[in-house]
């Protein structure tokens, strides 16, 4: 059950990181000179979204 729950939970995080990467790719293509700043924002956003997936992973492992 834990594995299925984790699989469901990771959908949202996957979508979030995908959306962030989409936005960053588009911003970089339109305006290559802001690359550095956009990349920092992307890493931050990805870290926040990833944290949610990791919380699901830890809960699935720890709570039985």
């Amino acid at each position: 059950m834990g594995v299925i729950g984790y699989g469901l939970g990771v959908i949202g995080a996957g979508l979030a990181i995908g959306l962030a990467a989409y936005g960053v790719a588009q911003a970089m293509a339109r305006q290559p000179e802001v690359q550095d700043r956009v990349f920092t924002v992307f890493i931050m956003g990805a870290a926040f979204a990833e944290a949610l997936a990791l919380i699901g992973f830890v809960v699935a492992l720890v709570v039985r």
Binding site: A47, F48, A51, L54, F57
Partner: protein
């Protein structure tokens, strides 16, 4: 594929090793493996910082001085000046110590055989609590206790809505230390579990080959090579994550400090 049959037991064993086990003393009064590595990383950090201070000069020489200079510049420019604004100098020591403490803790944990001091919820909760008290204190110092409580809700909202927004802001304020602690802990814990699982896969597949060299055993050990490759990639990602999480923690604290200092938001 008997290697996969044995995997769940091995992973359960791996997860059980991540709970706090006292090295000496008891769990209540003693040193767990996490606290031990916390002390080790604090000593490493002190040595690094004092070695840097002894070489302090107007023009940095050598790789070590330059790396430290770049890191400190990064914190003071990207983190403090851009986010906090004109009063950044007051908060720079706190943010820099939080950043370097978490960074060294995370990086110590990546070395095989060592554990990250931040790999247990107790350490990260303590860190988050310190940050929480710090930015609340900054807010109270800036606005006064009642003024800070009032500044949680934005100005210019009519009466009944005002109270509702204030309550929501209060809840989000109280959730901040929890999310800070859980984010750092989960990143460290999950990263190490994933690395450990792939290391387990490598050993499980390569085990028959070590006992007896036959053609079928060599063929059976081929997945171990692939898993070792994935393990190396995940290892590199873990080093990256260790840096990013320290950065995220410090940046979030900086954002909260800025929010506490600002005139209503």
């Amino acid at each position: 594929m008997e290697a996969f049959d044995r995997l769940p037991d091995e992973i359960n064993h791996l997860v059980s090793e991540f709970s706090s086990i006292p090295v000496f003393g008891t769990l209540m009064a003693g040193l767990t493996q996490y606290t031990f590595w916390l002390v080790v990383s604090s000593i490493v950090l002190l040595i690094v910082v004092f070695a840097y201070v002894r070489r302090l000069s107007l023009v940095p020489h050598g790789i070590f001085s330059n790396v430290m200079e770049t890191a400190i510049n990064f914190i003071s420019n990207d983190m403090c000046q851009q986010i906090i604004g004109p009063t950044w100098k007051k908060h720079f020591p706190f943010l820099a110590s939080v950043f370097f403490f978490i960074l060294v803790n995370n990086l110590i944990g990546v070395i095989p055989g060592m554990k990250p001091g931040s790999g247990t919820i107790s350490t990260t909760a303590a860190l988050a609590l310190v940050a929480f008290i710090y930015f609340i204190a900054v807010g109270i110092k800036q606005h006064g206790a009642i003024g800070y409580a009032k500044s949680l809700a934005p100005k210019g909202v009519s009466f009944p809505l005002n109270v509702l927004i204030w309550l929501i802001e209060l809840i989000s304020l109280l959730l901040r230390p929890i999310t800070l602690a859980v984010r750092l802990f989960c990143n460290m814990f999950a990263g190490h579990i994933v690395m450990g699982s792939f290391a387990l896969m490598v050993t499980l597949f390569a085990e028959p080959l070590l006992q007896e060299v036959t053609a079928s055993n060599i063929l059976g050990a081929l997945p171990a090579v692939a898993f070792a490759g994935i393990l190396l990639v995940i290892y590199a990602i873990e080093i990256f994550v260790a840096c990013v999480q320290a950065y995220v923690f410090a940046v979030l604290v900086a954002v909260y400090i800025q929010g506490a200092e600002a005139e209503g938001h």
